[in-house]
Amino acid sequence: MSADILLWSVTAAQAMLVVAMGCYAYRLIRGPRAQDRVLSLDAMYVCAMLLVLTMGIRTGSAIYFEAALIIGLLGFVSSVALAKFLMRGEVIE
């Protein structure tokens, strides 16, 4: 019984996260300017990280934690690099 509740709520949460990623993808494609696209990409990284974490709850395996940590790290680095590029036109000066 409790496992069923958990299964359904995790499935619903994953569906919500996928819809959120869809919203960000729309903004990524449509977004009027470059900074909207960078913002959407950053938020999509966070959504993907949350999706991996809920996948870890679903399967009960701890390996997903490392994957989520790496996704969060790479998302930060790439977003900072893109913001820097928007500011200066080059990433490393």
């Binding site: 709520s9 949460a13 729309y26 300017r33 930060f76 928007l86």
Partner: protein, 131 residues
Amino acid sequence: MTHAAELPAWAALLTSALVLVGAGLALVGAIGTLLFRSFFERVHAPTLGTSWGTGAIVLASMVFFSVLGSRLVVHEILIGVFITVTTPVTLMLLARATLYRDRAEGSGSVPARPAQRAGGGRDDGNGEDGR
């Protein structure tokens, strides 16, 4: 989902509620990104998902693995702290870059750059007024 069969009911309910709250906050933030009109409003929306959206899902994961393994599992805090620290840095850099770009192309939607102080710090051209 056979691994969760021995999970007590209170832990399953708590994990379910936290996961749903976290994903719901992330979804609300994403919808906000679609609805807001200007970039400077839109830059606030994803922080719903990065503050308590992440916090709730990380808490759910901690509760789940702690009860399942019958020992305290707290390494998920690492993700929560990391996201909490890095999101403001990213978004502030992005907002400053946007301000600089808007001023550089002379769109009237952002306030003009305030006059430089007499002493004048270094002018790094990013639109900071050096307060």
